[in-house]
Amino acid sequence: MRHVYGWLLLLPAAVLLIGFTHYPAAATLLDSLFSSGTVVRPSRFVGVDNYAALADDPIFTQVLWNNFWFALGTIPASIALAMLMAIWVNDRLAARTLVRMAYFTPTILPMIAVANIWLFFYTPQIGLLDQLGALFGAPSHNWLGDPHTVMGCLVAMTIWKEAGFFMIFYLAALQSLPPELEEAAKIEGASRWYFFRRVTFPLLMPTTLFVLVNATINSFKLVDHLFILTKGGPNNASNLLLYYIYQVAFSFFDTSYAATLTVILLLLLATLALVQFQLIEKRVHYR
């Protein structure tokens, strides 16, 4: 009887989950094995042709690299900053509430609003960054229009948005640390840096791993800003996988190729899930 009850309770949620997560994932896989159909040329089974096309697609390769650099640029920096912010806020810092609010506010803003604001910073000549630079005699630079700087600019903006969010997790972890540790360290004359390096940082490791995985998943999901800032340009220098999927599906109407790309994205996310499972489960039990 317990079994029936259990499944009944789960049923509504299960229906929705299957309908919008598991079923579409399977359907996408199936879709990727067919060609896109239009009314004039109907769809047909093509097996792994679409996957072969991936290898020939320079934009696909570019997009994967971009996702990689984007993750590499945003994740370590936001985690480091988040840890720093949490430590500062956790201390008896003057004006601590205001400081904490300042760090966390970007998290409350939608990415679209953030992009609108930062588009202005990066505009050449009349934008804020160039105007500040002009005060110091620096020449104007086409920040978003230069393939060498566009990624850096997007990374900076993303760190600004995300660091405060991760700070919260570190704050929670810090507050659960026993205060005796710090007192003991003080008695033994350890410097604050030493204490941080040998005690705090290792104790924060579970949080760090959790934040790491979270941040990586986010880096695949976060493409809102591209709609406002660069639309993936210049020449795909800032294009990301999920945005490319959107372009292929809704601008080119090539649903099968979009499905193929989505399968790749799913594989990447699945790999991350496995990594998280292995790493975190083991580490947490270690402590």
Partner: protein, 424 residues
Amino acid sequence: MKRLLALLLTGMLLGASPARADTELTFYYPIAVGGPLTKVIDGLARQFEKEHPGIKVNPIYAGNYDDARIKALAALKAGQPAQISVLFSIDLYELLEQDVILPWDDIATSADDKDWLKAFYPALMANGTYKGKVYGIPFQRSTIVLYWNKDAFKEAGLDPERPPANWNEMTQMAAKLVKKDASGNVQRWGVMVPSTGYAYWMFQAFARQNGHDLMNKEGNRTNYAHPDVIAALQYWRDLGAKHKVMPEGTIEWGTLRQAFTEGKTAMMWHTTGNLTAVKDTAKFPFGVAMLPASKQRGSPTGGGNFYIFKKTTPEERNAALAFVKWMTTPERAADWSIATGYVATRPGAYETAKLKEYTAGFPQAVVARDQFNFATPELSTFQTGRVRKLLDDAIQASLTGQKAPADALKAAQQEAERLLKPYR
């Protein structure tokens, strides 16, 4: 518990009612110029309804051209009503391939209707015609024009009433117009041509001026790698890289107008759709000229046409015809042109009293129309999204110095060939 349930139910009910109103004609349209133009369209719709009882019009603002295409097609695929839409003139082949549009010839059958079909500028009909049938009725159309800052010209010792007539003049004048500060940083550039957003559109102008169009009439062949076309891209690149009269890298479409009105560039190439906005915000006298020539003058046309969809009943089709004819009378074409800066789509509009008066006081407004003599249809082919993106990417790659123009264009042409061959 009760309150929670009530809240939930209300939420679901409110949410489940679709966005359809009880109307006969639903149409998606893009706004391509900033401003309260949704109000203008709504006002026009209400006025039409008053004059034509029995027809209701439901205009839906869809964003920019890309959004409007995506939304209209998505609505059709999802079985939602949409009888007409203002879409990019170049969406023609996509719409044909999806088999969703009707030629207006099939509906505009009376003698009066046929006269109406002939009343528009031929240059504007080119993009909307396929195999002799008219699929798109011009509504908000534009060409690219050269805006120039007369005060800046005076300052640089140039005649403020004489814009550059050809590429050489433009390069030379731009060089004189570049202003640097004490530390050698550029305060004002000579000319700016935007290369994000609609880079291919701007490039069509360069190519046409150098003697070549980028695609054929059937929409199944592109011309990206012709030597004249490569030379045109090289010229564009040289403006920034060699002559240093333009910033290197891509120039943002959205912020260019503001850069011009703030005096950061003395000349700009931009859509005539910006005319009213520039007029309202520029604090200096400015001129509007046809684009400079190389072997000839040239500019692509741009903008949106009215399309009518296949999934319509005979009553809806008649209503749609009445509505579109009403929206494109000379009087209304004149009104729309004045409000937005777009070109009025038919010669008759320029004969109306109000447009005559307007252009007498603001002669910049007719430059775009005069350029029709040198106009070429906007880039449009089958697989149009991909084919255009190939060109956009090639242009951006060249302007940022990542690839030489010849390499970039040849690669783009190869890909485009692969995509278009099945259509021949």
